[in-house]
Amino acid sequence: MSAPSTSSPPAIVTGRLGYPDSHTFERFLATGGYEGLRKALRLHPEDVAAEVSASNLLGRGGAGFETGRKWSLLPAGKPVRYLVVNGDESEPATFKDHMLIERDPHQLLEGIVIAAYAIGAAQAFLYIRGEFALGLERVEQALEEAYAYGAVGRDIFGSGFSLDIVVHPGAGAYICGEETALLESLEGKRGFPRIKPPYFPAAIGLYGEPTIVNNVETMSNLPWIVTHGGAAFAALGQGRSTGTRIFALSGHVRRPGNYEVEMAKTTFRELIEAEHLGGGVREGRAVKAFVPGGVSSPWFFPEQLDMPLDQDEVGKAGAMLGSGAITVMDDTTCVVRASWRIVKFFWRESCGQCTPCREGSGWLEKVMHRIETGGGREEDLDLLLDVADNISPGLSWPPAQTTICVLGPSIPPSVCSALSRYRDEFLTHVKEGRCPFPEEAR
């Protein structure tokens, strides 16, 4: 158990959000806006990339891959390459990119130009979840201001570097967050994930050209990293989990919201319970379970509350920090109902290309629904595990994959977590022929 941190770390990506007008161009400029970009443009592109590598910034989209290392996978000798920024944020209970897009769009654009300069992108596309209407308005407005100011467009700040950015709206499909599906969508097609290999679009991406796909929060960190240096970022956190990170905290806490905390130095308990953070669960209640990093992850239980928010520690414990979404369920929660809802989500969002994902999610949803609504049988518990095992053989962590993308293996973890920990609750549903939780408190 690591001691709770006492010193407050710098607010790297949320620094401006205390201002009610944080999204405006005026506030941005008054608070150091575009200084990181100016500095970057005075450096060679490879030196900017070196700072990012030194920071060890892990991608904030879910997979947690080192950003600098991803950039280094671009093949040499192909001058046309693209930067695609993933703002499709649809992992349930994840709402940090939504905030960054709406509340600090210029910081995001500044990060995008820095990244495009470092990797030499010919054009950048900012793919924003279609449902983010206000976000789209704010970003489009900010982009116009950035063009007029000379931070985007031809010969940026007189550096000889030119870049066009295009804001692209999605149209409602969770799977388009998966990077190869996102590229298909950006090409005007259905969002079907591409068959791997190649494992990264770095070699063959948008229009078949080398492409880097990075998340909105990842990009939003770059202005600070360039301004303060990669070492200053790496000095925060521990091991591979450097810097700070935004955690989207939701569910049964008094103060749901996005909190930027130092990685590895903060524990789940601190995030959930500290008065200035989650504020704890309601009076007289206790934590029953929590989702540690998006609904694709296995769940954690009270005994893991003191684990630090460290990507590798959480991975070793059989779960993931994933998209940075933490959802707390207190002791009034019916875990059958909660895990059924997660499976229902995956069933609705499966793109349908792979049989285990398409059929498996439907089966799990059906069986979970009948257990929750009182029509379940005792054999259903083994049936659930059997179906889950067909989707992701072995039910191990990290999960085995028989499908084109990792949505498939993301389906079973919640159900398996709930079932292995609270088998008795499943059985009570079956025996009583109804959900034992009172309707208003489920």
């Binding site: 030499g120 449902e131 870049l163 569910g251 959802t327």
Partner: protein, 218 residues
Amino acid sequence: MARFSPENLAHARLLLSLYPEPRSALLPLCHLAQAQDGWLTPEAMEQVAELVGVTPAEVLGTASFYDMLHTSPVGTYLIGVCTNLACLLAGGEELLRHAERSLGVAPGATTEDGMFTLEEVECVAACDRAPCAAVNWRYFGPLGPDAFDELVGQLRAGALAAEVPAHGVLSRVRRRRGLATTTEEVAAERRAADEERAARASAKAAEAQGSGDGGSRS
């Protein structure tokens, strides 16, 4: 009116000019058509197909993959109640059931007056306001039954016209400028930058080689 208005057609051409390949403009053009007509009409899909250079069937096939694009008419206000995990824990299902009773329609259906279409939606990334609902993609929450009815009342009375534009208007802020540089210009710029970078790398390697050799000799 299902073909693009002259103004929207001009905007469609601007959008097309932003992408290396025209088909990339397919979704943005579908959004544009939906903003004009409230839904994606067959005539609009035909025109989108002409503009991006695919068949109308391909536009329909693509559009039908995406939840936000409606190939049949919907109400002036699309109310999406979220029942995903964070909202579920805060009473999202109860809110949806209340909305059904209050509006008198099941999810997927439209009220008789054509004002509201109710939908059950997946997480809309507003979980700190759970349980929440989106009205034409503007978010409201936390919403209890009374707050929901008040919201519907305000929408009916037109009191929220400024915050919530009618029909499928996704964004009221439109891009006004095309690309600042041509593909050829950028390609030339990048080629030159790559060459300089390669020259710096080989100079550095030669230097390292030199000092490395020196080191091994001494």
